[in-house]
Symmetry: C2
Subunit: 293 residues, 2 copies
């Protein structure tokens, strides 16, 4: 068993069926130094208990997942969604303060799809921009970075009307980089003919809040949401993408977030070890930045 | 039953289980004026017989489907693929000459995916460009337009490394517009934040060889290749896309090509009628160009 890369972070979704205590335990036990958490398992134990558990684990906290779902039209459901995002911002700040040194207060944002019964993709995109404008002061006050995540275009109608890194950066451009950044996730953007130039742009604009790696292979799972794989198991060239991110000076944690029934059915410690091995083989050789000892 | 739109063309893939004779018969019987053919059912009866049958049908010929699959590395398989494309070019020319007035000699090109065992997406894209350069003189000599079709990014690894209209236009830019154009298919490009500007660009560069419409809805079929729907059954806004195409001056046939198990299980005449009804409701209201009587 090789020592896990010091910059690897396990996104909790990779261990979907593990509760928070288990996720923290197996991540630390495997020698991984950082974790990204999801709201549901955190709220299952309560924010205060979750913060204590995180602090006790000795792990860094890399991101909070997730806010967003901003495409609803004006009305009570939209107001409720924005309020829920304000709670998520507070959670991200609290957890980042509880995590080990180097923890980050980042809330990953998924835009949301086209509302039921609508065909207005452009209108939905405008409402994403409006919602981020509404939440930016809350994020700034809490010291949290909102990280807009472009999702693969196969999710455009039901999950995220923001599909490319360029589009995410265009939205972020209205705000301070410390308040609104982007999530660079290889699975979602590797196909984009503009990906390398948009990664460079994201870096020069100071917008790379978090870098996430997982792999793509076909045939896609019947539920396309569950098509993510361990780094190295598919066809993504992690070399060119990782070097592009590193060239911007990004020196943060790198998360692996895998939605995959087979991975979820694996013993969680084994899943972390397998993730770590894939990361060491496929991603680590391309890293320029190693944290100071 | 409303009269079919005079610009509607039925792409034969919509009637996958019909042979050529049946496809021609039901398309004409429904009052549709144009058809796009696939190589396999044409070659099943032979090119000469297919040309006679097409001429007898009185239908226009809108496209030939399909050539491409250009991403193989140098070697006998690549040479064979290029030779096969040369035959497809000849077929397109022959069928266009046999079809009714207004027929077009267009060969739709699907780029091909990343070859087995490779992770070199950029290299695969370069080989697409090279192959088109090799075939362009053959197409020019035959009076055939090669129509590069960007496919949705969910097909990038196994089917088409050309994913956006902008990327297809960048490849086409090296060639005469009469020789290399693009296929504008709503299903593949509707999600693209740059779609309207790239349609305008395609028009101003004289590259829109064919416009194709079908709809998108979720959940996607378990085999994502089979997720295409009748116009109007999903979430695509055919108004903005169709007006953008029409604004370029495009006045050709508009194909409906549906890969969908349920549509394929429908009686072929009913499938044509259903396609025509969807087209009349979702697409026709946005058409500026009506063929001269």
């Amino acid at each position: 068993m090789t020592t896990p890369d010091p910059r690897l972070s396990i996104n909790q979704a990779t261990l979907k069926h593990a509760d928070l205590a288990t996720a923290l335990r197996v991540t630390a036990e495997a020698g991984v130094q950082s974790i990204g958490l999801w709201r549901e398992p955190v709220l299952e134990v309560g924010l205060e208990a979750a913060s204590r558990m995180l602090a006790d684990s000795g792990l860094r906290f890399s991101t909070h997942c997730r806010g967003g779902f901003f495409t609803l039209p004006e009305g009570p459901a939209r107001v409720a969604a924005l309020d829920d995002n304000r709670r998520a911002i507070e959670e991200a700040a609290t957890l980042a303060a509880a995590g080990a040194e180097g923890s980050k207060a980042i809330l990953v944002l998924v835009a949301g799809g086209i509302p039921e019964g609508s065909r207005d993709l452009l209108g939905a995109r405008e409402r994403v921009r409006d919602a981020i404008g509404t939440l930016a002061p809350d994020a700034a006050a809490a010291g949290v970075t909102l990280a807009i995540e472009p999702l693969h275009p196969m999710y455009v109608s039901d999950r995220a009307v923001v599909s490319t890194l360029g589009q995410a950066l265009d939205i972020a451009a209205d705000f301070e980089p410390s308040v609104v950044g982007v999530t660079v996730d290889t699975f979602h953007i590797w196909w984009d003919p503009q990906v390398l130039e948009q990664i460079a742009r994201a870096g020069s604009e100071g917008r790379i809040a978090t870098y996430q790696v997982c792999d793509w292979k076909t045939p896609l799972a019947a539920d396309v949401l569950l098509s993510r794989h361990y780094p190295g198991d598919g066809v993504i060239d992690f070399g060119s993408l990782t070097r592009a991110v590193e060239a911007t000076g990004y020196d943060g944690d790198i998360e692996v977030e895998i939605f995959n029934e087979e991975v979820w059915a694996t013993d969680p410690l084994l899943a972390v070890q397998r993730t770590s091995a894939g990361f060491s083989a496929a991603v680590s050789p391309h890293l320029a930045w190693v944290p100071a000892a």
